[in-house]
Amino acid sequence: MAITYTSGEQVEVYRFSIPATVLIPLGAVFLQAWLPLRFPFFTIFDLPLLVVIGFATARRSPLAGLLTGGLIGILQDALTHQPIGLYGISKTVVGFGASSLGIKLDVEHAGARFLLTIFFYVVHEVVYFMIARGLVGLRMAWSWPHEFLSGVANALLGVLVFMLLDRVKQRT
């Protein structure tokens, strides 16, 4: 498997143009809201989360990662009727973690991206679950098989999304 430990000097850092930085997250949130109406099974995917992971691992900047994650999460929260911050906090953590890990690991290969997405999907769900139950008081049920299967489904979609992001990212 192509997960290798790399030094800070070896990794390449990418950036995204301003239109891509604005439109890709907005498009992801839009698709996440629109597609479940036509394809109800799509609710198991979390397209904004995949974009957060993709941006964070490409930029490899924890600061940019957590801010991007937080903003995308808040945008996603605003479309729900739940308090704002549930997705915001979860995606802030994921953004920070993914960019920190992106510095240490080589995440250019599909296999590495697949495993990384499963890992961060579960992290996201755990953080979300804890906040939703502990702070907001929502009734939620945790199911490992469901979370794992959703993680795999998201990881498969994530590989495709990261390939698309590769096309718009620019080497610094």
């Binding site: 198991i44 957590l66 911050g85 549930l86 702070l135 009734r139």
Partner: protein, 396 residues
């Protein structure tokens, strides 16, 4: 300073998380959380819904062009089937209007007030929240169109939810299968009342029904009107499974009548009227008159009875003595009795119960018709007299 620089990322992370947790706590503390974050929600909805509207419009337009001009296969058969359905429903409507009249009279006697939907607005579903933990959809009508918070949202199949947040040209609708939703529910036959709630997995259950009650699966669930949002009597769904829950209550699972996962168009109930049933305008009814309404009577002779007689068919108001093979039952009274002004059955004239043109009693009096005409074939006409709003004869 060196320490700050070294742990800068971590400090920012903690700061951002702290700010969000604080904001979350403030929202949870306030019950009306949507007000404190309204600006963020307006921005987010404003950023996402215009594109959703464009796509919904494009999809509808394409679908309309395709179905209206190209894909017309089976339309003729469907048209025929619909016409037959209309005929069946016309008959049904006559019977139900009688029941409704009777119910109205009883309600008037008891001084009941009834709620009814007096105005609705059609809206298109353009988007969803995109989250499994927030089961809500967005519609393309907002406060510019007169939509207000807490309005009921329904479809022809059953109830959908209520308006939760209203924006300028869009609104957010909370579906009945969301875990924060609550609807007053009434079981159709057992008349048990409970609270309809959504579960985290998106199912719908009725709570607060005692475990010593018997609820059969398959029973219809209606709105009870107790929530002040949905008028009483709207279809919610059907009971699918009943099991013992916790705290002496039953766990009743319900399958919603409206398909909540594939909503396209909905109706927003913009006005609900409440009125008291009006008493019968005809004044106090005598028992004998009420009884007479329920008894079979003779439909009056139509104008073309003579023509029918000439052609050998049975005129309405006459009796076909041998109707073999037909379920038409000759219930009409003899014409002599009909002609007698003293008989209540003759004083009330049955209205046409069928849309097929048979038994079209238009006159107020039952004209003595030729006694019996021989019918060459069973006639569908022998209209079963239904209790109808009767027309009082003029004294002769």
């Amino acid at each position: 300073m060196d320490v700050l620089g070294r742990y800068r990322n971590l400090i920012v992370l903690v700061g951002v998380l702290f700010a969000q947790v604080l904001g979350l706590a403030v929202q949870v503390k306030r019950t009306t959380d949507s007000e404190s974050t309204r600006l963020i929600r307006i921005w987010a909805v404003g950023a996402v819904t215009p594109l959703e509207k464009v796509l919904a419009w494009a999809q509808t337009s394409t679908g309309n062009v395709w179905h209206s001009y190209f894909y017309l296969r089976g339309v003729r058969a469907e048209n025929r089937s619909l016409k037959q359905q209309i005929e069946r429903m016309s008959l049904e409507q006559v019977r139900m209007s009688q029941d409704a009249d009777q119910a109205r009279r009883l309600q008037a006697l008891l001084g009941f007030k009834e709620q009814f939907i007096s105005r609705t607005m059609a809206a298109q579903v353009i988007g969803s929240s995109g989250s499994e933990l927030s089961r809500s959809v967005y519609i393309d009508k907002g406060y510019n169109d007169g939509i207000k918070r807490d309005m009921a949202v329904i479809t022809a199949d059953g109830i959908v939810g209520k308006v939760l947040n209203v924006y300028r040209s869009t609104s957010q609708v909370l579906l009945i299968n969301d875990q924060t939703s609550g609807v007053g529910a009434l079981l159709d036959k057992t008349r048990l009342q409970g609270i309809l709630r959504g579960t985290p997995s998106g199912e719908v259950v009725i709570e607060k029904v005692m475990s010593d009650e018997t609820v059969p699966p398959g029973e219809l669930v209606l709105t009870s009107g107790g929530d002040g949002i949905f008028p009483k009597g709207l279809l919610v769904g059907k009971v699918t499974k009943v099991s013992l829950g916790s705290d002496l209550f039953l766990n009743i699972r319900v399958r919603p009548a409206a398909d909540l996962s594939r909503l396209e168009e909905v109706l927003v109930v913009t006005k609900i009227d409440e009125r008291q049933a009006e008493p019968d305008q005809t004044g106090a009814a005598r028992a004998v008159d009420i009884l007479a309404e329920r008894l079979p009577s003779v439909p009056s002779k139509p104008e073309n009875a003579e023509k029918g007689a000439a052609s050998g068919t049975v005129a309405p108001g006459t009796v076909a003595p041998t109707t073999t093979g037909s379920d038409a039952k000759p219930k009409a009274a003899p014409p002599e009795a009909s002609a007698s002004s003293g008989a209540p059955a003759a004083r009330k004239t049955a209205m046409p119960a069928s849309s097929s043109g048979t038994g079209s009693g238009t006159g107020a009096t039952a004209t003595p018709a030729p006694a019996v005409k021989v019918s060459p074939k069973p006639v569908k006409a022998a209209v079963e007299p239904k209790p109808q709003p009767a027309i009082e004869d003029s004294p002769q």
